[in-house]
């Protein structure tokens, strides 16, 4: 790609204009990135409210957040007691589906991919859920606090062997990934830095599920890390990492890929204003999110459909738009098949994302998942996500309006005209087709609605975020 973007323009607030009006496509785009897609009402209300108010309400979240937390908390406790990692996934997906503040869940997912910790090794649903809680608390808060606390987080301590790292025989696992994956990026430190930093992190143990510092196991000698010498402890290493010029760039670069684009390269020049803001605000992540979501670049064609939908966005998005009421378990299993098994990332690097989400197998599995969700005949979803019921709710008349309803709901009508023509053609001829003898007229109509919905979801455009 050869586009040159003015970094100053890129991060200035977007104002609707004749050249770039506030339209349904932008509402859909905003909800795909800052939430898990939109419902019909969210699209229509966002269109009326305009960008500022819509973004405000996404940042703030809707009413009933405390009640929702109270409602979901007891289940988390019993999942922890039963140490049921599979249910922990369902629980989080339930929160993604129905939280009044989906942006917080979405950014918690960002941090989960950043501090990618797998319960396959941790094997403790309580630890995993408490790490989730830590990331959610700081999801739009201070990255400094998050990084300090994650270094003493029980799930992380097990995952990267911090709890095994002792004076004289340090374990390098955490120290390396802290620099490579959590704060600086490869090439910004030496092997010597890793080994010295590992000494600083010795002495942390898990006691009754809590992180405890044992001075006897801590190496309190001098360490030389990233050019600074002292009797460093783990928290000093985190501080030293955050003093490196590469740290703000590394984090906003990852955020850029998550919220803005996987296609347009994140050059240092483009990221500079964001990185500067991040550094000056002492790593206030929420403020950077605010800037990005309101920006010109975010609402430009360069960001539009410039990511491949992650499985979570794909699956949660469909159920959300269909206003389905499902437990998280059906989705958790399906998303595992699509390659995004939450709380079980493939490695400490998290999911590679982007084009790696889609291959022959995952594409077919995605298409087959859309069928499972829309058919009403799949045991995982049943009638809880019935497109025919949605069409009835909004009083959509049969015929062309059905096609256009689903195209607007899922793709804001933005597809190749030939594809729409083919869908209309299918819809118009559907009444002529042979159906099983026991079907009522109503069955046949509902079948066409569900099929049209399924076909819309199989369009290539729907794979893009």
């Amino acid at each position: 790609m050869t586009q040159v973007v003015d970094p100053h323009w890129a991060w200035e607030a977007y104002r609707p204009s004749d050249a770039s009006p506030w339209d349904i496509k932008k509402v859909g785009h905003l909800y795909r990135r800052a939430s898990f897609g939109a419902t019909w009402n969210e699209l229509e209300e966002g269109l009326k409210a305009g960008p500022e108010r819509t973004i405000d309400s996404l940042l703030r979240g809707g009413p009933g957040q405390d009640a929702f937390d109270l409602q979901t908390a007891p289940l988390a406790q019993s999942i922890s007691r039963a140490n049921n990692g599979a249910l922990a996934r369902s629980w989080w997906l339930y929160r993604m589906l129905y939280s009044p503040r989906p942006l917080q869940e979405k950014l918690t997912l960002f941090w989960h991919n950043h501090f990618a910790t797998s319960n396959a090794k941790v094997n403790n649903a309580g630890h995993i859920l408490s790490q989730y809680g830590l990331m959610r608390r700081h999801a739009l808060g201070s990255f400094r606090d998050l990084l300090q606390e994650i270094s003493r987080d029980p799930a992380m301590m097990v995952w990267l062997d911090l709890n095994q790292s002792k004076k004289g025989t340090p374990n390098e696992n955490y120290a390396r990934e802290l620099m490579e994956l959590f704060s600086l990026g490869i090439g910004q430190y030496t092997e010597k830095d890793v080994r010295e930093a590992a000494r600083a992190f010795t002495g942390w143990e898990l006691n009754g599920g809590k992180a405890l510092f044992n001075p006897k196991q801590h190496d309190d000698g001098d360490k030389m890390v990233l050019g600074q010498k002292g009797k460093w402890a783990g928290s000093d290493i985190v501080r030293i990492c955050l003093e490196q010029p590469s740290a703000p760039y590394f984090i906003v670069g990852k955020l850029y890929r998550f919220l803005v684009s996987e296609a347009l390269p994140a050059t240092p020049e483009l990221l500079e204003p964001l990185a500067a803001q991040f550094r000056k605000s002492d790593y206030n992540f929420g403020a950077v999110i605010d800037t990005v979501l309101r920006s010109n670049l975010f609402f430009s064609p360069m960001a539009y459909r410039s990511r491949v939908k992650a499985p979570v966005d794909f699956g949660v998005g469909i159920v959300h738009a269909l206003e389905g009421r499902v437990g998280g378990t059906a989705l958790a299993q399906s998303l595992e098949e699509l390659g995004q098994n939450i709380f079980y990332p493939p490695s400490v690097k998290g999911w590679d994302g982007g084009q790696t989400w889609l291959n022959g197998q995952t594409l077919l599995t995605r298409q087959n998942l859309t069928l499972a969700i829309t058919s009403t005949e799949n045991p995982r979803f049943g009638q809880r996500t019935d497109p025919a019921a949605l069409v009835q709710k909004y009083g959509i008349k049969s015929g062309a309006p059905i096609v256009d309803f689903f195209l607007r709901l899922f793709l804001q009508g933005d597809i190749a005209p030939e594809a729409r023509a083919k869908l209309l053609d299918y819809q118009q001829h559907s009444h002529k087709q042979t159906v099983p003898i026991y079907w009522t007229q109503q069955d046949a109509v509902a079948h066409t609605v569900r099929t049209v919905c399924h076909l819309v979801l199989t369009l290539p455009e729907f794979q893009l975020d």
């Binding site: 340090p170 390659g339 197998q361 298409q367 079948h447 794979q463």
Partner: protein
């Protein structure tokens, strides 16, 4: 040999017909190729390569064990394997006790161990080092893989990434002229519809496939989705013609890796002209309490690869098969304080097949002359790749690797 198909492809490539559409299907799975002569018919002798990736950094020192070296026990106070249990390959080294299957293939002249493999200035990041191995390059930015590039010289060779559920397509396969299909199982590799009748089903499928084919001035990413879709729908249709009830001639253990290799065997047996397979197994990042975890992983590899080899041998494909293992790095010579090992560098590669030079190639890296506490390599992994490219796949390694690498003596009569 399959001259007809090759010639077709050559002419298609020459006119730009097949490739420049941008919506190509793997040639061996396309309708045209389906009509081409059978690669699997008697007389077909095309070589097959199965790459087995050990993800996480396999502890080479406890895979190929220098059981006679007194330093070994000193480096591994809690992780050392007892001398008498090691599966001896010669008077110096032997395989881990869990690898009896592979060690047994030595009698069949089918196991070759290349010791001390690595590359200069080894990187100890999992992800960077894995990229280096998969791209066969240490350049700063890596966007194409060594297999992907090799496939440009083998346009008719069928290739598959056989994958688990939480695993993306590897960099190693990037850069292929047509995307290499990833498959989990044949049953799951098909497009389902909810149709009122068979006519309805056909209409729906046609609509789904046509929508993927349509193009106008579109962004790159959408084009990528369309290519993947067209490629997949057509491959899927072709693969559904394969018999579902594959009867292996050996017993595969019930592990994911073994299932992957069994599917590879089935695809080889299905006469599609499949020649390249890529599979992986994760879990080798053993920083703590390594002993049992590592033994279990090595048992899985050994048993799965042995079953595959025996299945293939029983079907007369013994001399067409070459399996190659690799990992992004070995592990630190001295164990750490958590009964595990931190990231290291040099490690062995295992080669299995009917034409390998059986036995051990090269010395075990010295246990005393370490670099940053790590074993030092004497053989560059690209030397092994080059030998496989030149002498096994019959293509020019220099075009894949960018430079000449001295071959390693890994094949009989090579």
């Amino acid at each position: 040999m399959i001259p007809a198909r090759r010639d077709f492809l050559k002419s298609a490539l020459a006119t730009g017909g097949l490739v420049s559409w941008g919506l190509t299907v793997p040639a061996f799975l396309s309708r045209t190729a389906a009509a081409a002569p059978d690669a699997g018919k008697p007389g077909a002798r095309e070589t097959i390569l199965v790459v087995v990736q050990l993800t996480g950094g396999n502890d080479g020192l406890n895979t190929v064990i220098p059981y006679k070296d007194p330093e070994y026990a000193k480096l591994r106070p809690t992780l050392k394997l007892p001398k008498e249990q090691v599966k001896k390959l010669n008077d110096h080294v032997g395989l881990h006790p869990a690898m009896g299957g592979l060690a047994g293939l030595l009698q069949d002249q089918a196991l070759c161990v290349v010791q001390g493999v690595g590359y200069p200035n080894p990187n100890q990041s999992h992800f960077r080092s894995m990229d280096i191995w998969q791209a066969a390059s240490t350049s700063e930015t890596l966007s194409e893989g060594w297999i992907g590039k090799a496939l440009r010289q083998l346009p008719a060779a069928g290739s598959f990434h056989i994958t688990g559920k939480n695993e993306g397509a590897p960099l190693a396969l990037a850069g292929a002229p047509v995307r290499v299909p990833s498959i989990t199982t044949l049953e799951e590799f098909q497009l389902q519809t909810l149709a009122a009748s068979s006519a309805d089903k056909k209409q729906q499928r046609t609509l789904i496939e046509d929508a993927a084919r349509m193009r106008e001035g579109q962004p790159n990413l959408l084009d990528f989705v369309r290519r993947t879709a067209v490629n997949t729908y057509e491959s899927s249709r072709r693969l559904q013609e394969i018999g579902k009830n594959y009867q292996p001639r050996s017993t595969y253990p019930n592990t994911p890796l073994a299932s992957h290799l069994k599917l590879a065997a089935q695809l080889i047996d299905a006469n599609l002209g499949a020649r390249i397979f890529y599979v992986s197994i994760d879990g080798f990042d053993t920083h703590a309490n390594q002993l049992n975890t590592h033994a279990d992983l090595l048992r899985q590899i050994s048993d799965a690869m042995t079953a595959f080899y025996k299945d293939m041998a029983a079907r007369g494909h013994k001399e067409r098969i070459l399996m190659m293992t690799f990992s992004e790095f070995g592990r630190r010579a001295h164990e750490n304080g958590s009964k595990g090992t931190d990231h290291g560098s040099a490690a062995p590669m295992l080669l299995v097949g009917g034409k390998v030079k059986a036995g051990v190639i090269g010395e075990h890296p010295s246990l005393t002359k370490l670099s940053m506490d790590n074993l030092v390599h004497h053989t560059d992994f690209r030397q092994v790749y080059a030998t496989i490219l030149d002498n096994w796949l019959g293509i020019k390694s220099k075009e894949v690797l960018g430079e000449y690498f001295k071959p390693v003596n890994i094949f009989r009569n090579a």
